[in-house]
Symmetry: C3
Subunit: 495 residues, 3 copies
């Protein structure tokens, strides 16, 4: 009775016995009179799945109030990126860039941040409802097109929302090409009206086949381009079967075995989701260009070359004019090849440990956790001889070390920027400034990657060290180029 | 038997039955031979009130040792004003500027700080007695006029002490004009000898009438100037009856109903208590001028214009020469018009919650608290459905957001100062420097207000956001003016 | 049967009854055929002493996992030296400079730090073994001569290791002169192979005489030079009898009474252990020069003059070229003359408080503690009326105050360095730069001392204040010299 692709998925699945009407509305009308005009409406509310999968559902939405509150700006002395106002100027993230809250808030917090559309989406009732989650428009209100906060930015676009919600899955053609209700060039303030839920169950679980899956288009495209050698491949292949629906309107990737590295990589990667410019000629790259929905799947050491090959950069630095990459959250690329990855550990083992539900059953918590807050369940399961105190100590030791390198990388980037300005206004030759600017381009991505990655280096301390120290070395080289030129000019003047 | 004004107050009061001798010494002599030569001596020690009001008294002086110790310099990376050494140079507060201790220490800490009179007032016995409170000169010693610590300042004057003690109430003519034992021009090192107690019961409670009252002269003057529209007025009037004693030597303001917004505003406001200069002509303004004892009762957005109208500024910045305002603790102006103010909440409901005393009676604690340390008693009373963890989370969320903006405002003020210096030494035209300096004057007060205000924005998050982002915008404008001029000069040179 | 010096020590000692073979191997062969070829081998493993002194031994090696982990870089906003990357450039400590772990890690952490020999000594098995201690080469591995981490330094030399281990006691001639297996000029990568244990029991306890003693050569030399007036002397003499072995190959200092001020001063002092240059003529000072193993025993206020008299400085600053001293951990010099020192309190009373062992006996813990983590045992023993909360409050109050001054000193040193650079490139005269550089030399040591000292000023708050504020004053004077010159040049140009 169903479509071929769906039928194939549903056969022999745990969900085989469920009637279509459990997840689809208007099935009766459709069956009575099949055709596009009576197409059933898919229920996208995670509560539909939650009616059976109670523990998973409630753990996703339950809030554990963290010590320290929310809306922690990264650009403060104790934040992850104390010098971002200098180092990222004039990029939108300098207007507000917070440490993240839990998944239940991923849409809300994205819309309400000061850098998103001038701050027009505000919490209903103001600050007192800041702890609320649920349907987007129950929590937020639209202050309207003319509302613009001082010192806000106009960021946000249809592509970046693909990593925040599953609601658009049926309205967004593969890679955001034209043809669906929404595409990459749609007006973001229209698209947001259609977003009611954060990324939900169907992002990772095929509702028909009950198999593990991925639906994020740019991830599927990146793996499909090189199934043998991408960061998830083992023994020359990736456990991901790409299934195409409706003549390629939509593709999904189905796994044989759960691989949370892939599931989480739908969002926890560096991806390009905004307009930019070309290295080759400086030309603008707009949303009509497929490069505005792109997953590199490359790590900190590889990204600059990757983006040069792609002929794309995000923005120019306010002082040096360096062509810079703004990183998203590249956890998957960082984790790839790490000690834990090589040992076969996947994301969910640390971040979704098994807990006992109210019904007494063990379940994988979907309130994705920081392992340091749940060491017994997350770490000690695999390291049974160790105490919680010892594991915390080890985690924090790695993070302290990496933070030390981050602060040094920031100091030297700051020195490079300040020295550039001094060199520029005291008349150092443009050819010398060009050399220093190239060092800035090199040093930047090797550093900024680690302020976007959410583990403070724990996912891969060796990669963090290599990347950050190479950033420091590049910045120092840039500073030296400028200082040498200024002192040489001084000597010249004396003669 | 008493003076007319006092009689009027005392009639029908709860204190009506108390003999004058409870609070006044030498009443017998005075009654036997009335006249100024036998004038009774008022007992100013709060212990006199405390003999009946035991819970209130003991809660004021009991110390709860806070985690983290005292003498926390604000000018550190984790303090409230990490960049103050650059941003406030060369003002006295850069020599030492601490996060406050409790009210019992308000006199002691003011006298012992490194910026007060060269540091000549030190704790008896040194650091080991730093937790002691009580009578000023039991705790502190005067090291003498010739004692001067390296890197200390000579701040302190008779007016600023009016917000630290009630001891001078009978010796200080209204607004500090000449005529009392002490006036605005008195030598501060003489005045301090007469200060034995912190602000006491009589500051807020009329001892004769047992009515709520205020005695701080500049507050009374500010309200008296505009009783219909000041920040405390409701429905076009302020519940404050001004009573004049001894032919205007002294005025007090008596309320019908307790309004802690007024009581606390005797000190918790921006006030001018030091010498300065005039915008109009740069002329010095000394203590003989009434503007050195002045309450604006205006908020962050209004203050620059207010002080321009008053023709007064505090100091010039060390680098830019900008004419700057040094803020005191403007809690009352910040709170005015906030969500909580509009809901009718007064200061004491959050900061002096009801506790059970040793005698089993409920009383309003006079050990004025940070609500975040007493959420159950302070917040949950009015928000009964909420958990302590949730309220803490909400408070910290607001504070984190505002701190983020403060750090940004500081970054951009710092950029403006550094860029000014660079522009100045590389020869940018004075007219351009003037424009940038004006931006500094604008940006400064919009920021510094929030380092002086003690709630990290919680008292009024919307005002905090507006003020701080306007500061950022002004600083950025100043930086742009200077950068444009430097780069234009560079272009010019090339031709 | 034993050597004269040893016999004298052993007579009437608690250890008199122990057979030589308890602590020495091959004694039988040596007795059968005495002579250098059959010289017994001394067992240097602290476990030998630990077989009797169980509590002391186990407390030394037991790890209490501190909250916050290890490898805390000092050069971060919350570390002890937030601006070190600017202020210490280009010195080796800028590559990695951590807050210390316990004594059990002193060798391991010294070898594994990024500034030591290019980072070639790494934890076996990587980060997961970071909590391990024990024999050096059970924990660490040598990655080989060609291994060099990016942004590491090549620090480390035979002298600096003398404060980390007692293992070399029989192979190192007095003061590291040539004649032993190792001397000051030995290749450090060879010496480290011979280091298996951290500083052990025999550093402070004479194994023959069971008397308190010291063996660190440069300490003995410094006291010997002036036994009447050094920082440990009381009533014109020091309780230290210097005993010479093997014709002066080795000297030890034996005390009548335990004086932990002396025992701890074997390492917890400022000492010179590296190459440098001469103030007089800039000539290099290498390891062949005895000044590379030198204890000044002078405090922050005295050290600059001391090193000028010694004609030695460590390095030149990257920007100003100022001749700077890099401080080690000058706890002994700081403590000398403090309130606690005058009261007769020694180091062990606060840092090695009495605890009850597993055997029920009280013993002085050899897991040397931060008193703030053990206030009851450390502070309250002598201050019995005080609560733990109060003592913590007092400690933190002093540390907060001193940290405030440290941050100010750093700000002003940074201003001096940045202003120097600006002055230099805008053409300020060399004679003016020289004056500013001299101020930098003065200001630096008065500050850096306190980032190396481990008490955040608690050991001697008055000395800390005087030193740090003098640093600030010197930096400000330097900035003023440069600013005045730049503004004067500007005026000159206008004419």
């Amino acid at each position: 009775m169903c479509h071929t692709e769906v039928k194939a998925l549903k056969e022999a699945s745990k969900h085989a016995a469920l009637a279509c009407s459990v997840c689809h509305e208007k099935t009766k009308e459709h069956l009575a009179n099949p055709g596009p005009d009576t197409r059933p409406v898919t229920k996208l509310d995670p509560a539909v799945c939650g009616s059976c999968h109670k523990n998973q559902y409630s753990s996703f939405f339950d809030v554990h109030y963290p010590e320290g509150g929310a809306r922690k700006e990264k650009g403060t002395p104790v934040g992850r990126s104390p010098m971002q106002d200098k180092l990222l100027a004039p990029y939108g993230f300098t207007f507000e860039h917070n440490e993240p809250r839990g998944h239940a808030y991923m849409v809300i917090d994205q819309f309400a941040v000061d850098r998103f559309q001038g701050g027009r989406y505000q919490f209903k009732g103001g600050w007192k409802n800041y702890a609320k989650n649920g349907k987007t428009w129950d929590v937020l209100e639209d202050k309207g097109e003319s509302y613009k906060l001082t010192e806000s930015a106009m960021a946000g676009n249809p592509t970046c929302i693909q990593c925040k919600t599953s609601d658009l899955v049926l309205k967004w053609k593969y890679l955001g090409e034209k043809g669906g209700k929404w595409d990459r060039t749609s007006k973001v303030t229209e698209v947001v009206k259609d977003v009611h839920n954060p990324v939900g169950c169907i992002e990772c679980h095929d509702p028909h086949g009950a198999k593990p899956r991925v639906i994020r288009d740019a991830l599927i495209a990146a793996i499909d381009k090189d199934p043998a050698k991408n960061i998830f491949a083992k023994n020359g292949k990736t456990d991901l079967k790409v299934v195409s629906f409706r003549d390629g309107f939509r593709k999904i990737g189905v796994m044989e075995q759960t691989d949370s590295r892939l599931m989480c990589a739908q969002c926890h990667v560096e991806y390009n989701c905004g307009p930019g410019s070309q290295w080759s000629n400086g030309a603008k790259v707009g949303f009509n260009d497929i490069r505005t929905n792109h997953f590199p799947l490359q790590n900190a050491l590889q990204l600059l070359q990757h983006y040069k090959d792609l002929d794309f950069f995000d923005f120019k630095h306010a002082v040096t004019g360096a062509r810079l990459i703004k990183l998203q959250h590249p956890e998957a690329e960082t984790y790839a090849g790490s000690v834990h990855d090589k040992a076969g550990v996947q994301c969910h083992q640390c971040h979704m440990p098994k807990l006992k539900g109210k019904d007494g059953k063990m379940f994988s918590t979907h309130g994705v956790v920081k392992p340091i807050n749940m060491v017994k369940e997350s770490c000690v399961t695999c390291h049974p001889g160790d105490s919680v105190a010892k594991k915390k100590y080890e985690i924090q030791t790695i993070q302290n070390y990496v933070k030390g390198k981050m602060r040094k990388a920031e100091y030297w980037l700051g020195q490079l920027i300040d020295t550039y300005k001094l060199a520029q206004v005291t008349g150092v030759a443009p050819s010398v400034l060009d050399q220093a600017r190239a060092k800035h381009e090199e040093a930047h991505v090797l550093w900024e990657y680690w302020t976007a990655e959410n583990s403070d280096g724990f996912h891969n301390p060796d990669l963090a060290r290599e990347s950050l120290t190479k950033s420091i070395a590049a910045s120092k080289a840039g500073v030296k180029i400028l200082n040498d030129a200024m002192l040489a000019a001084k000597q010249e003047n004396k003669k």
